[in-house]
Protein backbone atom coordinates (compact mmCIF):
# COMPACT_ATOMS: atom_id res chain seq x y z
CA UNK A 1 0.00 0.00 0.00
CA UNK A 2 1.29 3.39 -0.89
CA UNK A 3 0.87 6.15 1.61
CA UNK A 4 0.42 9.56 0.23
CA UNK A 5 1.66 12.30 2.46
CA UNK A 6 -0.26 15.45 1.91
CA UNK A 7 1.18 18.56 3.41
CA UNK A 8 -1.13 21.45 3.53
CA UNK A 9 0.29 24.05 1.18
CA UNK A 10 1.00 27.32 2.90
CA UNK A 11 1.28 30.48 0.97
CA UNK A 12 3.92 31.90 3.22
CA UNK A 13 5.27 32.00 6.73
CA UNK A 14 2.37 34.08 8.06
CA UNK A 15 -0.12 31.62 6.63
CA UNK A 16 1.75 28.77 8.32
CA UNK A 17 1.95 30.57 11.66
CA UNK A 18 -1.78 31.32 11.64
CA UNK A 19 -2.40 27.66 10.96
CA UNK A 20 -0.22 26.61 13.91
CA UNK A 21 -1.96 29.11 16.17
CA UNK A 22 -5.32 27.75 15.12
CA UNK A 23 -4.58 24.05 15.48
CA UNK A 24 -2.98 24.66 18.88
CA UNK A 25 -5.98 26.75 19.93
CA UNK A 26 -3.77 29.40 21.42
CA UNK A 27 -4.43 33.12 21.76
CA UNK A 28 -2.86 35.11 18.98
CA UNK A 29 -2.15 37.90 21.51
CA UNK A 30 -0.33 35.51 23.84
CA UNK A 31 1.53 33.10 21.62
CA UNK A 32 3.51 30.37 23.42
CA UNK A 33 6.50 31.23 21.32
CA UNK A 34 8.69 28.21 22.23
CA UNK A 35 6.00 25.72 21.25
CA UNK A 36 5.02 27.49 18.06
CA UNK A 37 8.67 27.87 17.07
CA UNK A 38 9.26 24.14 17.56
CA UNK A 39 6.29 23.27 15.39
CA UNK A 40 7.32 25.79 12.78
CA UNK A 41 10.72 24.10 12.53
CA UNK A 42 9.10 20.67 12.39
CA UNK A 43 7.14 21.81 9.42
CA UNK A 44 10.23 23.17 7.67
CA UNK A 45 12.02 19.88 8.27
CA UNK A 46 9.10 18.00 6.85
CA UNK A 47 9.26 20.12 3.75
CA UNK A 48 12.95 19.41 3.39
CA UNK A 49 12.46 15.68 3.84
CA UNK A 50 9.88 15.75 1.11
CA UNK A 51 12.36 17.59 -1.04
CA UNK A 52 10.10 20.60 -1.25
CA UNK A 53 11.84 23.82 -1.82
CA UNK A 54 11.68 25.99 1.28
CA UNK A 55 11.25 29.53 0.11
CA UNK A 56 13.46 32.25 1.55
CA UNK A 57 10.59 33.93 3.35
CA UNK A 58 10.11 30.85 5.53
CA UNK A 59 13.76 30.97 6.62
CA UNK A 60 13.59 34.67 7.44
CA UNK A 61 10.59 33.99 9.66
CA UNK A 62 12.44 31.09 11.28
CA UNK A 63 15.21 33.47 12.26
CA UNK A 64 12.68 35.96 13.64
CA UNK A 65 11.04 33.26 15.75
CA UNK A 66 14.37 32.16 17.22
CA UNK A 67 15.20 35.76 18.04
CA UNK A 68 11.85 36.37 19.75
CA UNK A 69 12.19 33.09 21.64
CA UNK A 70 15.60 34.08 22.98
CA UNK A 71 14.36 37.52 24.00
CA UNK A 72 11.50 35.88 25.90
CA UNK A 73 14.03 34.11 28.11
CA UNK A 74 15.27 37.43 29.44
CA UNK A 75 13.23 39.37 31.97
CA UNK A 76 11.72 42.58 30.60
CA UNK A 77 13.77 45.56 31.64
CA UNK A 78 11.99 48.54 33.14
CA UNK A 79 12.33 51.61 30.94
CA UNK A 80 11.96 55.27 31.71
CA UNK A 81 8.88 56.08 29.66
CA UNK A 82 6.48 53.18 29.59
CA UNK A 83 7.37 51.26 32.67
CA UNK A 84 8.48 48.12 30.87
CA UNK A 85 10.03 47.14 27.60
CA UNK A 86 7.70 46.11 24.82
CA UNK A 87 6.80 42.44 24.75
CA UNK A 88 9.24 40.97 22.19
CA UNK A 89 6.33 39.22 20.50
CA UNK A 90 4.44 42.42 19.74
CA UNK A 91 5.82 43.17 16.22
CA UNK A 92 5.12 39.59 15.18
CA UNK A 93 1.61 39.66 16.65
CA UNK A 94 0.85 42.94 14.89
CA UNK A 95 1.93 41.44 11.61
CA UNK A 96 -0.16 38.32 12.10
CA UNK A 97 -3.25 40.27 13.10
CA UNK A 98 -2.89 42.57 10.11
CA UNK A 99 -2.42 39.67 7.71
CA UNK A 100 -5.33 37.78 9.21
CA UNK A 101 -7.55 40.80 8.76
CA UNK A 102 -6.84 40.94 5.02
CA UNK A 103 -7.14 37.22 4.69
CA UNK A 104 -10.62 37.40 6.13
CA UNK A 105 -11.37 40.27 3.75
CA UNK A 106 -10.20 38.13 0.85
CA UNK A 107 -12.58 35.36 1.93
CA UNK A 108 -15.35 37.91 1.83
CA UNK A 109 -14.17 38.92 -1.66
CA UNK A 110 -14.34 35.28 -2.76
CA UNK A 111 -18.01 35.12 -1.74
CA UNK A 112 -18.70 38.24 -3.77
CA UNK A 113 -16.80 36.74 -6.69
CA UNK A 114 -18.90 33.57 -6.54
CA UNK A 115 -22.15 35.47 -6.42
CA UNK A 116 -21.13 37.75 -9.25
CA UNK A 117 -20.14 34.85 -11.45
CA UNK A 118 -23.74 33.74 -11.60
CA UNK A 119 -24.54 36.78 -13.69
CA UNK A 120 -23.83 36.41 -17.35
CA UNK A 121 -23.43 39.61 -19.31
CA UNK A 122 -23.44 40.29 -22.97
CA UNK A 123 -20.03 39.39 -24.27
CA UNK A 124 -20.11 41.20 -27.56
CA UNK A 125 -20.64 44.89 -27.03
CA UNK A 126 -22.79 46.60 -29.63
CA UNK A 127 -20.50 48.55 -31.93
CA UNK A 128 -20.75 52.16 -30.99
CA UNK A 129 -18.93 55.15 -32.33
CA UNK A 130 -17.07 56.91 -29.54
CA UNK A 131 -16.67 60.52 -30.45
CA UNK A 132 -16.90 63.40 -28.10
CA UNK A 133 -17.03 61.31 -24.95
CA UNK A 134 -14.29 61.61 -22.38
CA UNK A 135 -11.48 59.20 -23.03
CA UNK A 136 -10.69 56.24 -20.85
CA UNK A 137 -7.36 54.51 -21.30
CA UNK A 138 -5.95 51.85 -19.08
CA UNK A 139 -2.20 52.12 -18.74
CA UNK A 140 -2.08 48.34 -18.96
CA UNK A 141 -3.64 48.57 -22.44
CA UNK A 142 -0.94 51.03 -23.43
CA UNK A 143 1.81 48.79 -22.09
CA UNK A 144 0.33 45.76 -23.84
CA UNK A 145 0.24 47.72 -27.08
CA UNK A 146 3.85 48.78 -26.71
CA UNK A 147 4.94 45.29 -25.84
CA UNK A 148 3.17 44.01 -28.94
CA UNK A 149 4.92 46.62 -31.07
CA UNK A 150 8.28 45.65 -29.63
CA UNK A 151 7.67 41.97 -30.26
CA UNK A 152 6.59 42.62 -33.82
CA UNK A 153 9.49 44.95 -34.44
CA UNK A 154 11.98 42.33 -33.22
CA UNK A 155 10.87 40.16 -36.11
CA UNK A 156 11.91 42.89 -38.55
CA UNK A 157 15.68 42.93 -38.39
CA UNK A 158 16.07 46.07 -40.55
CA UNK A 159 14.77 48.16 -37.76
CA UNK A 160 16.96 49.64 -35.09
CA UNK A 161 14.49 49.88 -32.31
CA UNK A 162 16.46 49.69 -29.14
CA UNK A 163 18.29 52.73 -27.94
CA UNK A 164 20.99 53.68 -30.37
CA UNK A 165 23.82 55.84 -29.12
CA UNK A 166 22.88 59.49 -29.14
CA UNK A 167 25.52 61.79 -30.59
CA UNK A 168 26.73 65.10 -29.25
CA UNK A 169 25.61 66.69 -32.49
CA UNK A 170 22.07 65.50 -32.01
CA UNK A 171 21.96 66.89 -28.52
CA UNK A 172 23.32 70.23 -29.76
CA UNK A 173 20.44 70.36 -32.23
CA UNK A 174 17.99 69.37 -29.53
CA UNK A 175 19.21 72.16 -27.26
CA UNK A 176 18.92 74.74 -30.05
CA UNK A 177 15.42 73.44 -30.87
CA UNK A 178 14.44 73.79 -27.27
CA UNK A 179 15.77 77.34 -27.13
CA UNK A 180 13.84 78.19 -30.27
CA UNK A 181 10.63 77.30 -28.45
CA UNK A 182 11.35 78.98 -25.12
CA UNK A 183 14.20 80.95 -23.75
CA UNK A 184 15.89 81.31 -21.46
CA UNK A 185 15.79 77.75 -20.29
CA UNK A 186 16.94 76.44 -16.93
CA UNK A 187 20.04 74.27 -17.03
CA UNK A 188 18.21 71.34 -15.43
CA UNK A 189 15.43 71.55 -18.00
CA UNK A 190 17.86 70.53 -20.75
CA UNK A 191 18.14 67.11 -19.18
CA UNK A 192 15.04 65.04 -19.74
CA UNK A 193 13.97 63.52 -16.45
CA UNK A 194 13.99 60.08 -18.05
CA UNK A 195 17.52 60.53 -19.38
CA UNK A 196 19.99 57.82 -18.56
CA UNK A 197 23.56 58.56 -17.63
CA UNK A 198 24.81 58.40 -21.22
CA UNK A 199 22.22 60.90 -22.40
CA UNK A 200 23.05 63.30 -19.57
CA UNK A 201 26.75 63.14 -20.41
CA UNK A 202 26.21 63.60 -24.14
CA UNK A 203 23.81 66.49 -23.53
CA UNK A 204 26.33 68.17 -21.29
CA UNK A 205 29.07 67.74 -23.89
CA UNK A 206 26.72 69.20 -26.48
CA UNK A 207 26.09 72.22 -24.28
CA UNK A 208 29.82 72.75 -23.74
CA UNK A 209 30.35 72.58 -27.49
CA UNK A 210 27.62 75.19 -28.10
CA UNK A 211 29.20 77.47 -25.52
CA UNK A 212 32.61 76.99 -27.14
CA UNK A 213 31.14 77.86 -30.54
CA UNK A 214 29.53 80.94 -29.04
CA UNK A 215 26.06 79.74 -30.07
CA UNK A 216 24.56 80.03 -26.60
CA UNK A 217 24.97 82.19 -23.54
CA UNK A 218 24.94 80.73 -20.05
CA UNK A 219 24.55 82.78 -16.91
CA UNK A 220 23.59 82.73 -13.28
CA UNK A 221 21.74 85.52 -11.54
CA UNK A 222 22.97 84.67 -8.05
CA UNK A 223 25.89 82.63 -6.88
CA UNK A 224 24.49 79.13 -6.45
CA UNK A 225 21.39 80.45 -8.19
CA UNK A 226 19.70 78.91 -11.17
CA UNK A 227 21.82 78.50 -14.26
CA UNK A 228 19.96 79.70 -17.34
CA UNK A 229 20.74 79.34 -21.01
CA UNK A 230 19.70 81.36 -24.05
CA UNK A 231 20.77 81.65 -27.66
CA UNK A 232 23.61 84.07 -28.24
CA UNK A 233 22.44 87.19 -30.02
CA UNK A 234 23.88 86.86 -33.54
Amino acid sequence: MVYQVRLPAFEGPLDLLLHLIRVNQVDIYDIPIARITDEYFQYLRMMEELDLEVAGEFLVMAATLVYVKSRMLLPLEPTEEEGFEEDPRTPLVDMLVEYQRFRTASEEFALHEDRQRQYFLRSEPVELPTTGAPLEIDLADLLDAFRAVLTRAKDRPVLELMARPVTTGERMVAILDRLALEEPVAFEALFPAEADRALVVVTFLGLLELIRQGAVRVWQTLSFGEIVIARAVP
Binding site: R22, Q25, D27, E57, R101, F102, H112, Q118, F120, P125
Partner: protein, 189 residues
Protein backbone atom coordinates in the same frame (compact mmCIF):
# COMPACT_ATOMS: atom_id res chain seq x y z
CA UNK B 1 -44.22 59.35 -16.70
CA UNK B 2 -44.84 58.03 -20.14
CA UNK B 3 -44.48 54.31 -20.67
CA UNK B 4 -42.77 55.18 -23.92
CA UNK B 5 -39.41 55.40 -22.22
CA UNK B 6 -39.38 51.87 -20.99
CA UNK B 7 -38.36 50.20 -24.29
CA UNK B 8 -35.68 52.83 -24.80
CA UNK B 9 -34.31 52.28 -21.32
CA UNK B 10 -34.37 48.55 -21.97
CA UNK B 11 -32.53 48.90 -25.27
CA UNK B 12 -29.90 51.17 -23.71
CA UNK B 13 -29.23 48.79 -20.84
CA UNK B 14 -28.97 45.95 -23.34
CA UNK B 15 -26.55 47.76 -25.61
CA UNK B 16 -24.24 49.41 -23.10
CA UNK B 17 -21.05 47.46 -22.42
CA UNK B 18 -20.68 49.17 -19.02
CA UNK B 19 -23.12 49.80 -16.23
CA UNK B 20 -25.07 53.03 -16.85
CA UNK B 21 -25.34 55.45 -13.95
CA UNK B 22 -28.47 57.42 -13.10
CA UNK B 23 -26.71 60.54 -14.36
CA UNK B 24 -25.87 58.94 -17.69
CA UNK B 25 -29.42 57.67 -18.06
CA UNK B 26 -30.79 61.13 -17.27
CA UNK B 27 -28.69 62.56 -20.07
CA UNK B 28 -29.65 59.79 -22.49
CA UNK B 29 -33.36 59.84 -21.80
CA UNK B 30 -33.75 63.53 -20.96
CA UNK B 31 -35.65 62.60 -17.84
CA UNK B 32 -35.30 63.65 -14.22
CA UNK B 33 -33.78 61.39 -11.61
CA UNK B 34 -37.11 60.32 -10.17
CA UNK B 35 -38.42 59.33 -13.58
CA UNK B 36 -35.34 57.24 -14.29
CA UNK B 37 -35.56 55.45 -10.97
CA UNK B 38 -39.27 54.77 -11.50
CA UNK B 39 -38.61 53.39 -14.93
CA UNK B 40 -35.80 51.19 -13.69
CA UNK B 41 -38.01 49.75 -10.99
CA UNK B 42 -40.79 49.31 -13.50
CA UNK B 43 -38.51 47.35 -15.82
CA UNK B 44 -37.24 45.21 -12.96
CA UNK B 45 -40.78 44.36 -11.89
CA UNK B 46 -41.84 43.65 -15.43
CA UNK B 47 -38.99 41.13 -15.77
CA UNK B 48 -39.90 39.48 -12.51
CA UNK B 49 -43.61 39.28 -13.27
CA UNK B 50 -43.08 37.87 -16.73
CA UNK B 51 -40.61 35.33 -15.44
CA UNK B 52 -38.03 36.73 -17.84
CA UNK B 53 -34.59 35.15 -18.13
CA UNK B 54 -33.08 38.61 -17.81
CA UNK B 55 -32.71 40.94 -14.88
CA UNK B 56 -31.36 44.39 -14.04
CA UNK B 57 -28.49 44.52 -11.55
CA UNK B 58 -26.90 47.45 -9.80
CA UNK B 59 -23.12 47.41 -9.77
CA UNK B 60 -20.19 49.83 -9.73
CA UNK B 61 -22.53 52.78 -9.35
CA UNK B 62 -24.72 51.90 -12.31
CA UNK B 63 -27.27 49.55 -13.77
CA UNK B 64 -26.78 46.80 -16.27
CA UNK B 65 -28.68 43.98 -17.87
CA UNK B 66 -27.74 40.45 -16.96
CA UNK B 67 -29.11 36.94 -17.04
CA UNK B 68 -31.07 35.77 -14.01
CA UNK B 69 -28.58 34.30 -11.52
CA UNK B 70 -30.48 31.04 -11.00
CA UNK B 71 -30.10 30.22 -14.70
CA UNK B 72 -26.31 30.10 -14.52
CA UNK B 73 -26.03 26.32 -14.87
CA UNK B 74 -27.61 26.62 -18.34
CA UNK B 75 -25.35 29.45 -19.36
CA UNK B 76 -22.17 27.63 -18.47
CA UNK B 77 -23.05 25.34 -21.35
CA UNK B 78 -22.44 28.12 -23.83
CA UNK B 79 -18.94 27.52 -25.07
CA UNK B 80 -17.79 30.82 -23.77
CA UNK B 81 -14.37 31.41 -22.35
CA UNK B 82 -14.57 33.01 -18.98
CA UNK B 83 -11.49 33.56 -16.87
CA UNK B 84 -11.37 31.30 -13.86
CA UNK B 85 -11.85 32.29 -10.25
CA UNK B 86 -9.02 34.11 -8.57
CA UNK B 87 -6.59 32.06 -6.52
CA UNK B 88 -6.16 32.72 -2.81
CA UNK B 89 -2.92 34.67 -3.26
CA UNK B 90 -4.63 36.81 -5.91
CA UNK B 91 -7.65 37.41 -3.68
CA UNK B 92 -5.47 38.37 -0.72
CA UNK B 93 -3.40 40.68 -2.85
CA UNK B 94 -6.36 42.44 -4.43
CA UNK B 95 -7.95 42.81 -0.99
CA UNK B 96 -4.83 44.50 0.38
CA UNK B 97 -4.69 46.80 -2.65
CA UNK B 98 -8.38 47.63 -2.32
CA UNK B 99 -8.05 48.70 1.30
CA UNK B 100 -4.61 50.27 1.22
CA UNK B 101 -4.57 51.98 -2.17
CA UNK B 102 -2.56 53.66 -3.50
CA UNK B 103 -0.01 51.09 -2.41
CA UNK B 104 3.37 49.83 -3.61
CA UNK B 105 4.37 46.24 -4.28
CA UNK B 106 6.73 46.33 -1.28
CA UNK B 107 3.91 47.42 1.02
CA UNK B 108 1.69 44.58 -0.19
CA UNK B 109 4.54 42.12 0.27
CA UNK B 110 5.17 43.37 3.80
CA UNK B 111 1.60 42.49 4.72
CA UNK B 112 1.44 39.15 2.93
CA UNK B 113 4.94 38.08 3.89
CA UNK B 114 5.65 36.73 0.41
CA UNK B 115 6.59 38.08 -3.02
CA UNK B 116 3.62 39.10 -5.16
CA UNK B 117 5.14 39.81 -8.61
CA UNK B 118 3.32 37.09 -10.51
CA UNK B 119 0.04 37.81 -8.80
CA UNK B 120 0.29 41.54 -9.54
CA UNK B 121 0.81 40.80 -13.22
CA UNK B 122 -2.26 38.64 -13.37
CA UNK B 123 -4.35 41.22 -11.57
CA UNK B 124 -3.16 43.85 -14.04
CA UNK B 125 -3.87 41.59 -16.97
CA UNK B 126 -7.36 40.96 -15.71
CA UNK B 127 -7.71 44.72 -15.29
CA UNK B 128 -8.70 44.38 -11.66
CA UNK B 129 -5.90 46.64 -10.55
CA UNK B 130 -4.14 49.46 -12.32
CA UNK B 131 -1.08 51.63 -12.00
CA UNK B 132 -2.16 54.90 -10.43
CA UNK B 133 1.15 56.74 -10.27
CA UNK B 134 4.46 56.61 -8.50
CA UNK B 135 5.29 57.17 -4.87
CA UNK B 136 7.41 60.20 -4.07
CA UNK B 137 9.94 58.05 -2.33
CA UNK B 138 13.35 56.50 -2.87
CA UNK B 139 13.27 54.56 -6.13
CA UNK B 140 9.88 56.08 -6.95
CA UNK B 141 8.03 52.75 -6.79
CA UNK B 142 4.86 52.24 -8.82
CA UNK B 143 1.61 52.73 -6.92
CA UNK B 144 -1.30 50.37 -7.50
CA UNK B 145 -5.01 50.86 -7.02
CA UNK B 146 -8.18 49.07 -8.01
CA UNK B 147 -10.00 49.71 -11.28
CA UNK B 148 -13.65 50.11 -12.10
CA UNK B 149 -13.72 46.53 -13.36
CA UNK B 150 -12.71 45.56 -9.83
CA UNK B 151 -16.03 46.93 -8.61
CA UNK B 152 -17.88 45.18 -11.42
CA UNK B 153 -16.07 41.89 -10.87
CA UNK B 154 -16.89 41.67 -7.17
CA UNK B 155 -20.25 43.36 -7.45
CA UNK B 156 -19.40 46.36 -5.27
CA UNK B 157 -21.07 49.71 -5.81
CA UNK B 158 -18.14 51.87 -4.86
CA UNK B 159 -14.97 51.62 -2.83
CA UNK B 160 -16.60 53.12 0.22
CA UNK B 161 -19.00 50.17 0.16
CA UNK B 162 -16.25 47.67 0.90
CA UNK B 163 -16.80 46.01 4.26
CA UNK B 164 -14.69 48.01 6.66
CA UNK B 165 -11.69 46.19 8.04
CA UNK B 166 -13.10 46.82 11.53
CA UNK B 167 -16.24 44.91 10.62
CA UNK B 168 -14.12 42.15 9.18
CA UNK B 169 -12.15 41.95 12.37
CA UNK B 170 -15.26 41.12 14.32
CA UNK B 171 -15.68 38.09 12.08
CA UNK B 172 -12.21 36.82 12.87
CA UNK B 173 -11.42 34.94 16.05
CA UNK B 174 -9.96 37.35 18.56
CA UNK B 175 -8.80 37.11 22.16
CA UNK B 176 -12.01 35.55 23.47
CA UNK B 177 -13.38 33.71 20.48
CA UNK B 178 -12.19 30.18 19.94
CA UNK B 179 -10.69 29.73 16.55
CA UNK B 180 -12.23 26.36 15.89
CA UNK B 181 -15.83 27.42 16.34
CA UNK B 182 -15.48 30.20 13.83
CA UNK B 183 -13.87 27.94 11.31
CA UNK B 184 -16.66 25.40 11.54
CA UNK B 185 -19.21 28.06 10.92
CA UNK B 186 -17.60 29.40 7.83
CA UNK B 187 -17.33 25.92 6.43
CA UNK B 188 -21.01 25.25 6.83
CA UNK B 189 -22.18 28.52 5.42
Amino acid sequence: MSRGYLPILEALLFASPDPLSITQLQELLEEDEEGIINNLNCLKELYENKGSGLTIIEVAGGFRMSTRPDLHPWLTRLARVRPGRLSRPALETVAIIAYRQPVTKAEVEAIRGVAVDGVLRTLIERRLIRIVGRKRDVGRPILYGTSRSFLEYFGFQELSELPSLKEIETLTPTREGTAEATEMQSENS
